[in-house]
C-alpha cells in the first residue's frame, strides 16, 4: 500500500520541543521572525493559537497543534464510512465537519454493454455500496462552504472488504508516518501488516492473523500518546520486539 506524501515539519529528528498554549507570546522580535502556521500577530508580539509544539524554521515561527479536526483538502485520500444513501448519491462520514458526497458517476463504472459497436448508455444507481461500507476515496473538490466531492476512481481507491479501521486525532497522523515514511515502514516490516494511513485520522490495517493486528493497534495507540516526545522510532522498535516475545508472535 502506498503512503500519502506529506509536507510536514520534521518531528522525528527534533528534540523535545516547548509546549505552548493559546495566547502565549512566542516572540517579540518582529524584524527577524514572521508568524507562520498556528500563530498570529498581536500588536508587536507573535502569539500562539493552539495547544501545540513550538517549531522555528528559518525565520518562521510555527505552532503544530496537538489536537484538532481534519479540514478536507483537494487531492487528499481519505477513509470514509457510508452513513446515508439515496438514488443519486452516497453521504460519507470522512471525520470532517461536513459529510462528503459521492456520486455514482464518480465511481468505477460497471462493464459497459455494447450494441452495434457503440456503447449503450448505462444508468448508474447507488446499489453498488450500502450503508456502513468502508471506502477509500479521494477528495476532488473542497472549499469552506460546500460539502466535499469524492471519487473512487484511482489507484488504491474503492471499497474495503476486510481489515480493521482505527481512528486517532488527525494532527498525530504525521507521527504514524514518520520522516519519509520511516515509522510506517518499520510497522509494516515488523508486524507484516498492510497499512493505509489517511490524513483524516483514520488507519486501515489488515494482517496475517488477529494477534499481529492487535499488536499493531496497540503500537499505534502508543505512538498516539507519545506523539510529542523525541526518540519515538527507537522506542517503538523496542516495544514491538518486547511485545512479540511476551505475546509469542513470530
Amino acid at each position: 500500500m502506498e503512503v500519502e506524501d506529506i509536507d510536514e515539519i520534521d518531528l522525528n529528528q527534533m528534540k523535545d520541543k516547548e509546549i505552548v498554549i493559546p495566547g502565549e507570546v512566542l516572540s517579540e522580535d518582529l524584524t527577524n521572525f514572521t508568524p507562520g502556521r498556528g500563530t498570529t500577530k498581536q500588536g508587536n508580539k507573535i502569539i500562539s493559537l493552539f495547544v501545540g509544539l513550538k517549531v522555528i524554521r528559518k525565520n518562521y515561527i510555527n505552532v503544530i497543534p496537538l489536537r484538532g479536526i481534519y479540514t478536507p483538502t483537494e487531492g487528499d485520500k481519505v477513509i470514509g464510512v457510508i452513513i446515508d444513501k439515496n438514488p443519486v448519491k452516497w453521504k460519507l462520514d470522512i471525520n470532517a465537519r461536513n459529510f462528503g458526497i459521492l456520486k455514482p458517476s464518480n465511481t468505477v463504472a460497471r462493464t459497459q454493454k455494447f450494441r452495434k459497436g457503440r456503447p449503450e448508455r448505462v444508468y448508474e444507481t447507488t446499489e453498488k455500496f450500502s450503508v456502513g461500507d468502508v471506502l477509500i476515496v479521494k477528495i476532488t473538490q473542497a472549499d469552506r462552504l460546500h460539502h466535499p466531492e469524492l471519487t473512487t476512481q484511482g489507484k488504491y481507491l474503492g471499497k474495503r472488504h476486510s481489515g480493521k479501521l482505527i481512528e486517532i486525532p488527525p494532527p498525530k497522523i504525521p507521527r504514524i508516518i514518520g520522516r519519509k515514511g520511516s515509522m510506517i515502514n518499520l510497522l509494516k516490516e515488523m508486524t507484516n501488516c498492510n497499512i493505509f494511513v489517511t490524513q483524516n485520522g483514520r488507519i486501515w490495517i489488515q494482517g496475517d492473523n488477529f494477534e499481529k493486528e492487535m499488536l499493531l493497534i496497540d503500537t499505534i495507540h502508543k505512538i498516539e500518546t507519545e506523539a510529542h516526545t523525541s526518540g519515538l522510532t527507537d522506542r517503538i522498535k523496542d516495544f514491538i520486539i518486547n511485545e512479540k516475545t511476551i505475546r509469542g508472535i513470530n
Binding site: 495566547g23 479536526i69 465537519r97 469552506r144 507519545e226 522506542r235 523496542d238
Partner: protein
C-alpha cells in the same frame, strides 16, 4: 433519623479574628484543581474543582448546524449550554433549564466568543456543554474558566485564555471568591472575567450595593486573584503532555527473553498463592 440538610445561613460571615467562615483571609481563594482531557468521547473536555464546585465541560465540533437556518455563511456559531444537575444544590433542582441557566449560558457565550477564530469554520457550530455536578457559589466564573480550557483542548484556534473570579461585600468588607453562603447573604456580588490577549473585561455583572471606592478596590483585588488562576489554567493545559514526557525520561527498556517470562509467571503465581493464603 432525618436526612434533611438544613439550608440556613449564619448571621455573621466574618469572625472576630478577621477570617471568613471557612478560615480564609478576605482576599484568599479557595483550593482549585483543574484537569484537561477527562471525557474520551468528546473532542475536548475539562474538569474543575473550585472549593465545593465540581464542573465538567465538553466540546463537540466544529460540526454541522441543525437547524440549518441557524448557520451563518460567513462564520461559525458558538453554542453554550450551562446546566445544573438535580443533586448539585441542597434542595432538588428541577431539571428543566430555567431563566437563570439560560442567562448564564448566554453570559458565558458572550464572554468566550470574541477570542475564538470562528470565521475559519463557516456554516458550522461549536458546542460547549457545561454540567455542574456540585454547586457552591461562583459557578459562572468557574464555568467560564473551565469552558475555555475545554475549547483549547479541542484545538479550536483562539487568541488567548479567559479567567474569571467573583468579588463580594460581606459585613461591610470586600472579599474575593465568594462561597455559597457568602453569595446568598452577602451585600454585593461582582463576577468578573478578563480575556488576556487584550487585557479587557469579558464579563462583568453586579448585584447589590457598593460605592465607587469599594468597586475600584474590588476590581484591583480581582486582578490579583485572576493572575493566580491563570497560572493554574496554563499548568492544566500543559500538564497533559508534560506528564507523558516526564514518564518517558526514565525510560530504560529491558528486553524480555523467554527465561524472564518463566520467572515472571512463577513470581506471579507465588504472589497469587500468598495473596490467597492471607485472605
Amino acid at each position: 433519623m432525618s436526612l434533611l440538610i438544613k439550608d440556613e445561613s449564619p448571621e455573621k460571615l466574618i469572625g472576630e479574628d478577621g477570617k471568613r467562615l471557612d478560615g480564609r483571609d478576605l482576599n484568599e481563594l479557595r483550593s482549585i484543581k483543574m484537569e484537561v482531557g477527562v471525557i474520551p468521547n468528546a473532542d475536548g473536555s475539562a474538569y474543575i474543582e473550585w472549593g465545593g464546585n465540581k464542573i465538567y465541560a465538553a466540546v463537540y465540533g466544529p460540526r454541522e448546524v441543525h437547524p440549518r437556518h441557524d448557520a451563518r455563511p460567513d462564520r461559525g456559531i458558538l453554542r453554550t449550554f450551562y446546566r445544573m444537575t438535580t443533586f448539585s444544590v441542597s434542595e432538588r433542582k428541577r431539571p428543566a433549564p430555567g431563566r437563570r441557566e439560560k442567562e448564564i449560558s448566554m453570559v458565558i457565550k458572550n464572554a468566550i466568543e470574541p477570542v475564538l477564530f470562528l470565521e475559519l469554520y463557516p456554516d458550522s457550530v461549536v458546542e460547549v456543554f457545561i454540567e455542574v455536578i456540585s454547586a457552591d457559589g461562583g459557578t459562572r466564573c468557574a464555568c467560564t474558566a473551565v469552558a475555555i480550557l475545554a475549547l483549547a483542548d479541542a484545538g479550536i484556534p483562539m487568541k488567548g485564555l479567559i479567567t474569571a473570579v467573583a468579588a463580594g461585600k460581606v459585613d461591610g468588607k470586600i472579599i474575593i471568591d465568594c462561597s455559597g453562603d457568602e453569595d446568598k447573604s452577602g451585600e454585593a456580588d461582582l463576577p468578573c472575567a478578563i480575556s488576556w490577549y487584550n487585557n479587557q473585561i469579558a464579563l462583568l455583572q453586579f448585584d447589590g450595593i457598593m460605592d465607587l471606592k469599594e468597586f475600584d478596590k474590588s476590581i484591583d483585588q480581582i486582578l490579583e486573584a485572576l493572575e493566580k488562576i491563570r497560572k493554574l489554567q496554563e499548568e492544566a493545559l500543559k500538564k497533559r503532555y508534560i506528564d507523558v514526557r516526564d514518564h518517558l525520561k526514565n525510560y530504560n527498556p529491558k528486553v524480555v527473553t523467554t527465561n524472564n517470562i518463566e520467572e515472571k509467571i512463577d513470581s506471579n503465581n507465588q504472589k497469587n498463592q500468598n495473596g490467597g493464603d492471607q485472605t
